[in-house]
């Protein structure tokens, strides 16, 4: 492997580092280890995350705990129908003393941004965030401001059948590397939740398990994880299936194919695989392509999870 990687490995192994983070998060978010790992893989692959679920399953807690554990600056934006782009990006204010405009940075300038209930805001406000996500910088009054690094957006969304929402169009959904659901906890874990300490108090006890530098380093390692020809064959077989199967409106884009590979590489990295193996692809498959494919009719697959499952089972490992 290339130069920067061995230095990190001498410092600490990604598996170990992430393992520690996961262990800590596991204390807060009970029984959702797979989702937590997806979440971190998404972050390491420099993607953004969309969590789609009903209120109260721990979306905000997850974002907050992640920020604390990774030692990232954290801002939460509650999306509402009267939210303006300036509320996200920031606003230029006239400074009487210097007789000039001064830019007040908005919440988007933190390292981890939680965009809560992103589908409740108007498309105008939504696109302000999504553009920032895409370009990693914000331009106001001709002046360009770079965003923080690492920059990670977790957007949450209520299921679209709820009233008074502006569902994100497919083209916008494509900007999110992954989409996950948290779901209800097991009865046993729920009991633990009921008996245990308040989550808010627990959050205060969290300490950073790795530094932003380590995080950035791991981000640079992700694209370097080896993907063999055999594995690329598998990724391409999946992509081809989505394009050729009559069950979907349209197949996934090349951007989605890259996203799938990056996510699988990130997954391989945090699980200590020297090269990406098919199981890494399978682990992230549902989260990466579920929201990018639209089934032609409901009988094929009702939601993103089922779509992921369908594609997984339909493509053989070459």
């Amino acid at each position: 492997m290339e130069s920067p990687v061995p230095t990190l490995i001498t410092q600490a192994d990604p598996v170990e580092l992430i393992g520690g983070t996961i262990a800590q998060l596991n204390r807060i978010i009970l029984g959702k280890e797979h989702q937590l790992r997806l979440c971190i893989a998404c972050l390491l692959a420099r993607g953004h995350l969309l969590i789609e679920d009903i209120p109260g399953v721990g979306k905000t807690t997850l974002a907050h705990a992640l920020a604390e554990s990774l030692g990232l600056s954290y801002q939460r934006i509650q999306f509402t129908s009267d939210l303006l782009p300036a509320d996200i990006i920031g606003v230029s204010v006239f400074d009487r003393e210097t007789s000039s405009f001064r830019f007040h940075k908005g919440p988007v300038f933190s390292q981890l941004v939680l965009a809560d209930e992103v589908n409740r805001a108007t498309p105008k406000a939504q696109s302000a965030l999504l553009e920032a996500m895409e370009e990693h910088q914000v331009t106001v009054d001709g002046q360009t401001y770079p965003l923080a690094a690492p920059f990670f957006v977790i957007a949450t969304q209520n299921p679209v059948y709820q009233i008074g929402t502006y569902p994100l169009p497919e083209s916008q959904l494509d900007r999110f590397l992954m989409r996950i659901e948290l779901g209800f906890p097991d009865p046993a874990l729920e009991r633990q939740l009921l008996m245990g300490q308040d989550r808010r108090d627990l959050l205060a006890t969290l300490a950073p398990t790795l530094s932003p530098q380590q995080l950035l380093l791991m981000q640079t390692m992700v694209p370097k994880v080896h993907a063999s020809d055999a594995l690329l064959d598998y990724v391409q077989a999946i992509v081809r299936f989505t394009r050729e199967s009559p069950q979907f409106e349209a197949g996934v884009s090349p951007r989605a194919a890259i996203a799938l590979l990056r996510a699988a590489q990130a997954w391989a990295l945090i699980h200590g695989h020297h090269g990406v193996i098919p199981e890494d692809v399978q682990a992230v498959l549902g989260a990466v392509i579920g929201h990018r494919l639209k089934p032609k009719d409901d009988s094929v697959a009702r939601n993103a999870t089922e779509v992921g499952d369908l594609v997984l089972k339909a493509v053989g490992v070459p």
Binding site: L231, E244, H274, I277, P278, E279, K296
Partner: protein
């Protein structure tokens, strides 16, 4: 289809055009049987659906579609007075296929219409099973299958010609299976398969005859039936095919007798003729046998006046009957009183001049036989003409014919003769049927057409029984000897005479008829009997349902086994890299131990699962797993570990 530019119409629209074309092809065979409003309605539905697709109109709302569908249902009910039966059934099918067009949004809807079209197309065989229709049916089925494939393609990038070629190949591949099913699919005995009678126009001889009826019929070149003799063939003048026997005469029209007579015995003499009559559907119960039939199948019966009649129903489809006849026979007396009464009865105040003539001739003749001879001599001597275009007769039809027009077809002569005989006190009756028939040397059978329709008389002579007297033979002996072409003068048009006069045309025509006969006998009429015959040829003596079903299932299994073996060979994996080969070898080994790999299962998951369920192998499998993952997916695989992997896989014993 080419009229619409491809960029103006969506993918779905183009699929829709295929479906509509297919549906049109399926409906065309039904056009003659469909009410005109149905054709119009389906046409409008098709036009509307295409326009809606091009102009992007929305389809009618659900409530409207439901109303239209129910209105159409009632209209069918009103038009046909039922929803049952062949005509109403197909009408309903076609109407509903048209209505279904109004709600086609998805590929699934299109598929439903294609299946309706298949059904409509093949139900066309209920009406018409002629060989001529077969090519059309095959082409339409081919197009429908291509349509079915087309609507399930995600793009229509494949050119239509290629699509048709592919479908044609698929259909050809399915052909052996279709033939097998045709030959061996169990045919249920009984009426289960039979086509219900339809209110279709009847053809052929009726059971009442007025002057002009038979000559009208004779203009038609349609085939009435075909006959194949087993060995001996009777000469032309003995080939009288007996049809309805008419007793009641009202001065103009002859009708069947009401009620039954006591049957009389027939003493047959001379040669017996065994033969098979294949009746075309004519929607009447009678079967035409050579005069007189002595043996007939159980489904038929012989009336007291020696006509063969189906016991139940009418001849509504092409049907064959095995019969035996003698052309020489004597009916043994005495004549039953009721039959004598009805066969002497004449209407009062009708045909007075003929009555007078009959009485005069009888008084002059020494015997009944002499009287008959003198009547026939009158026909011969005086200027009577045999013609296909007889003039219309007045109320006293026999008087009019005998004394004024003197031009007539066989029914005129037979009717006049029978009336004269009755007037002279000789019991007489009119027999209708066919006479002669054309021999087809290519199939070795006779074709009897409507143009061979004939009428003659039978008189009761004491001591001789019923004696056939054919007055037409007296006027135009060629009719009986050589058929109608020879008997009618050149100036009159006889259907098909031109065809028959040219040797080459004649040969083509006979060859076509032979092909038709083969189709009729071997394909259309293929039934339980033929199936039994076939199975006996194959060495199965007693045919039983269970054996048949079992054989069918076995054949199916065998067929699909062969097919899948071929496909497995055809799509066998190409030579892979050695790592992959060893892994596949391991997978096969594990599959034999009931641990088959799922297609989508990755190597790590699979080998872990195998190791978990076979703890004895767990060490080897774990090592194989890590070497394989490293070799196939790792960044710097060590080539030396390949031999290690080989070794492990080889030593694993299941």
């Amino acid at each position: 289809m080419a009229a619409i530019a491809p960029d103006r119409i969506s993918l779905f629209g183009r699929k829709l055009l295929w479906v509509i074309t297919g549906l049109t092809l399926a409906v065309i065979p039904h056009l003659p049987h469909l009410a005109i409003w149905i054709v119009a309605l389906v046409g409008v539905a098709m036009a509307f659906r295409i326009t809606a697709e091009i102009k992007r109109w929305s389809l009618p709302p659900k409530w409207l579609r439901i109303i239209v569908a129910f209105a159409a249902l009632f209209a069918v009910l009103l038009t046909y007075r039922t929803l049952n039966g062949v005509e109403a059934g197909t009408a309903l099918l076609v109407v509903m296929a048209g209505m279904k067009l109004l709600e086609t949004r998805t590929v699934r809807d299109l598929t439903v219409i294609v299946f309706l079209a298949y059904f409509a197309l093949f139900s066309g065989f209920i009406y018409n099973q002629e060989l001529l229709r077969l090519p059309y049916m095959l082409i339409a089925a081919w197009l429908l299958t291509a349509t079915l494939m087309r609507i399930h393609q995600t793009t229509l990038s494949m050119p239509a010609r290629e699509a048709l070629g592919l479908t044609g190949k698929m259909l050809l591949q399915a052909l052996p299976l279709a033939i097998l099913l045709f030959l061996f699919f169990p045919r249920l005995p009984g009426n289960f398969w039979s086509v219900p009678a339809r209110s279709e126009a009847r053809t052929g001889l009726d059971d009442e005859v007025s002057p002009g009826d038979v000559s009208d019929l004779s203009i038609s070149g349609m085939i009435a039936f075909r006959v194949k003799f087993e060995d001996a063939v009777p000469p032309s003048k003995e080939r009288y095919w007996r049809g309805p026997v008419l007793h009641d005469f009202d001065g103009r029209t002859w009708r069947r007798a009401q009620g039954f007579y006591i049957p009389q015995n027939v003493r047959a003499e001379g040669t017996s003729y065994a033969y098979r009559v294949t009746m075309e559907a004519h929607q009447r119960p009678w079967i035409f046998g050579l005069d007189v039939a002595t043996e007939w199948p159980e489904s038929a019966m012989r009336t007291s006046d020696f006509q063969l009649i189906k016991r139940r129903g009418v001849v509504s489809t092409l049907t064959s009957y095995d019969l035996q006849s003698f052309t020489q026979y004597v009916v043994e007396g005495p004549l039953p009183t009721r039959m004598r009464q009805s066969d002497l009865r004449l209407p009062e105040n009708r045909n007075p001049r003929s009555m007078a003539l009959a009485r005069k001739l009888r008084a002059e003749a020494p015997s009944d036989e002499a009287f008959i001879e003198s009547v026939l001599n009158t026909f011969r001597r005086e200027e009577y003409y045999y013609t296909l275009e007889p003039p219309r007769l007045e109320l006293h039809s026999v008087d009019d014919f005998l004394f004024n027009t003197k031009r007539g077809f066989c029914e005129h002569f037979a009717s006049a003769f029978t009336m004269l005989a009755r007037a002279a006190g000789i019991p007489a009756r009119l027999v209708t049927g066919y006479q002669g028939g054309e021999f087809n040397p290519m199939g070795g059978y006779f074709i009897v057409r409507q143009s061979d329709a004939h009428a003659w008389s039978e008189v009761w002579l004491e001591g001789k029984g019923w004696v056939r007297v054919d007055p037409t033979a007296a006027v135009a002996p060629e009719r009986v000897e050589r058929g109608i072409d020879a008997a009618i003068s050149e100036s009159e048009s006889v259907p098909g005479r031109l065809l028959r006069s040219n040797v080459y045309l004649s040969r083509v025509r006979l060859a076509w008829d032979a092909a038709n006969t083969f189709w009729n006998n071997q394909v259309v009429e293929f039934s339980e009997d033929q199936q039994r015959w076939l199975s006996q040829r194959l060495g199965i003596e007693e045919l039983r349902w269970q054996t048949f079903g079992l054989a069918l299932v076995m054949t199916f299994i065998l067929f699909f086994l062969c097919l899948s073996t071929y496909l497995a060979w055809r799509f066998r994996p190409k030579a892979r890299d050695p790592v992959q080969q060893i892994y596949e070898q391991l997978c096969r080994k594990l599959a034999r131990a009931n641990l088959p790999k799922l297609a989508y299962e990755g190597p790590r998951d699979y080998l872990s699962r195998a190791a978990a369920s076979r703890p004895s192998l767990s060490r080897d499998l774990s090592e194989a797993r890590s070497i394989y993952l490293d070799l196939r997916y790792g960044p710097n695989p060590m080539p030396s570990s390949l031999s290690r992997l080989k070794f492990i896989v080889n030593q694993i014993k299941i």
